[in-house]
Amino acid sequence: MTAATARRSRLRIDPRAVLLYLLLFIGAFAMLFPVLWMGMSTFKAEAEISQYPPSFLPKTFTMEPLIAAWTKIKFGRYFMNSLLVTGVATPLSVLTSAYLGFVWNKYDFRFKEPMFYVIIATMMIPGPMLLIPHYQVVLWANLLNTYASIIVPAVVTPYGIFLMRQFMHSVPNELLDAGRIDGASEPRLFVFVALPLVPSSLAALGIIQFLANWDNLLWPLVVLTNTAKYTLAVGLATFAAEYERNFAVQNAGAFIAVFPVVIAFLLFQRQIIRGIALTGLKG
């Protein structure tokens, strides 16, 4: 191949590559569109939402649906409830997962493997199946309509234990032994040696648990009847089911639920995607 033909082939545009990029960009637009559309509709007045022909950008910018959703329908309250429940349950579940994962990976004890198989097997049980006895347990514990009824069951997760047990492999036993020789206690080794060595696994698990808690509908729907305790997911679902439809307010409520998570995703998308790919993820 002469230098001239080589240069020509470098300049030539491959039509297949163009088609590939075109398809991918159209697909990306289709994926982003519903969320963008929700964002745009949040700042449109009720009348503009249902007008024909539709407009993408709001013609007259208004905060009214957002304010109405936040105050009148108590979405502000629901948001705070969601934040409380998710904010307490998520770090606790990451901590218990790390602790149990550490013990099951680093120590030997009798019935260690059978117990682990039982934990794994519980992941196969479909969630809705245990809804009734779970309700009964909460009823007996006198915890109906409390934040605790949502937080406590989310504190231990079999998936998290399984994940952290895998990741604790990367903590060298020699390092723990060195710590032991220096006289560090076992809990100290867990907190100050093991945990600092697996920060990305902790973060990945934290993100997965955050999304699961933030998105949880079925369980809170069953145990919460007091509207003051509603989480965003429950508030949104019941608003859509019970009230005379006001799409502008409903859309603004959805915006309140989605916006903070999307912003967090945009900030940390590289780590989140790497974490998800790392874990194989459920869901």
């Binding site: 590939l20 398809l23 994926m31 809705p128 895998q166 032994d177």
Partner: protein
């Protein structure tokens, strides 16, 4: 602590570890925590559900009547809605998994083959995954709305622009023949990101040298795909399929939020039926029987798929 001392294996099995009394407390704490959680929250409820699926269990009555297999018989042989719901569940799962897996594989291969904008594509295709299910289900309901939803108005506007006669309003969620397909499309959008990321990770684990060797041997793009990519992607692909079937048979939120099981029962899935029977009609025993049938079917499906796919799929790995 003596109990846990006995629970520990002889030290000989792990020669590299130094035995310290502190370990016993750590192990004891972990076992107590795990036992408390799994006994109270999983094992006990599982047995409880099983026992009460043989009773006419009503939570507000002091005594429950033993029915034997009547609840199961009612679901399997009398309640026509049960089989309709089962059919709907399978329709959703089939659409979601087949459409989802094939197109997600295509998207993953496409994204894997481009040099530029890869991070952008990955992030935008993944975006729907991080949005709350209830919230985006409502957004999609709004998009599907027949009169002023953006999907139909876009169709009207296109017809207007091309000077065609105005097309009829399509009831995406209000017509029995469209509703389930609309939900499948929504599920496809919502779950594409997760599947794509797993498949992409699988693709990137395939050593580049295999493709180079195949090229030297004269293999074309199609042969490389079917002889190298697909076989080596099988673990990731079967993970996506198996988890996809398990999760879509349990789908609840899209139906609950967008259609409430309608129109004309066309989107009532087994989980929705179970929810209605239990928490609206308070027939706990019947609900328990339905949930055991669903559990048996999911276990069976998972088992058959694992055998059929003959994969190296390892629980969640």
């Amino acid at each position: 602590m003596a109990l846990f001392e006995r629970l520990r294996r002889p030290q000989a099995t792990s020669p590299h570890r130094i035995r310290l009394a502190g370990q016993n407390a750590m192990i004891a704490g972990a076992i107590v925590l795990a036992a408390a959680y799994f006994l109270i929250w999983t094992v006990f409820p599982f047995i409880y559900t099983f026992i009460y699926s043989f009773f006419d269990w009503q939570p507000l009555r002091p005594t429950q009547e033993f029915l034997g297999l009547d609840n199961y018989a009612e679901a399997l042989f009398q309640d026509q809605r049960f089989w309709l719901a089962m059919g709907n569940s399978f329709e959703f799962a089939f659409g979601n998994v087949v459409l989802g897996t094939v197109i997600c594989l295509l998207v993953a291969v496409m994204i894997n083959s481009v040099k530029r904008f890869q991070a952008f594509f990955r992030a935008s295709y993944f975006m729907p995954t991080v949005t709350g299910m209830v919230a985006v289900a409502l957004v999609w309901e709004f998009i599907y709305q027949p009169r002023f939803g953006i999907l139909n108005t876009s169709i009207f506007a296109t017809a207007d622009f091309l000077n065609l006669p105005p097309p009829p309003e399509i009831g995406w969620l209000t017509r029995p023949q469209h509703a389930m397909n609309s939900l499948i499309l929504f599920g496809f959008w919502k779950f594409l990101g997760v599947r794509m990321i797993i498949l992409l990770a699988g693709l990137q684990n395939i050593p580049q040298t295999y493709y180079e060797a195949a090229q030297i041997d004269g293999a074309g793009a199609r042969a490389s795909f079917f002889r190298i990519t697909l076989p080596l992607l099988m673990p990731a692909l079967s993970f996506v399929v198996v988890v996809g079937v398990i999760n879509s048979l349990q789908a609840f939120v899209p139906m609950y939020v967008m259609t409430s099981g309608g129109p004309l029962f066309s989107t009532t899935t087994v989980v929705l039926l179970l929810y209605e029977k239990t928490f609206q009609l308070f027939r706990f025993g019947y609900g328990a029987a339905i949930s055991f049938i669903l559990f048996a079917i999911i276990m069976l499906m998972t088992f058959v798929q694992l055998r059929f796919l003959r994969s190296s799929w390892d629980v969640g790995a």
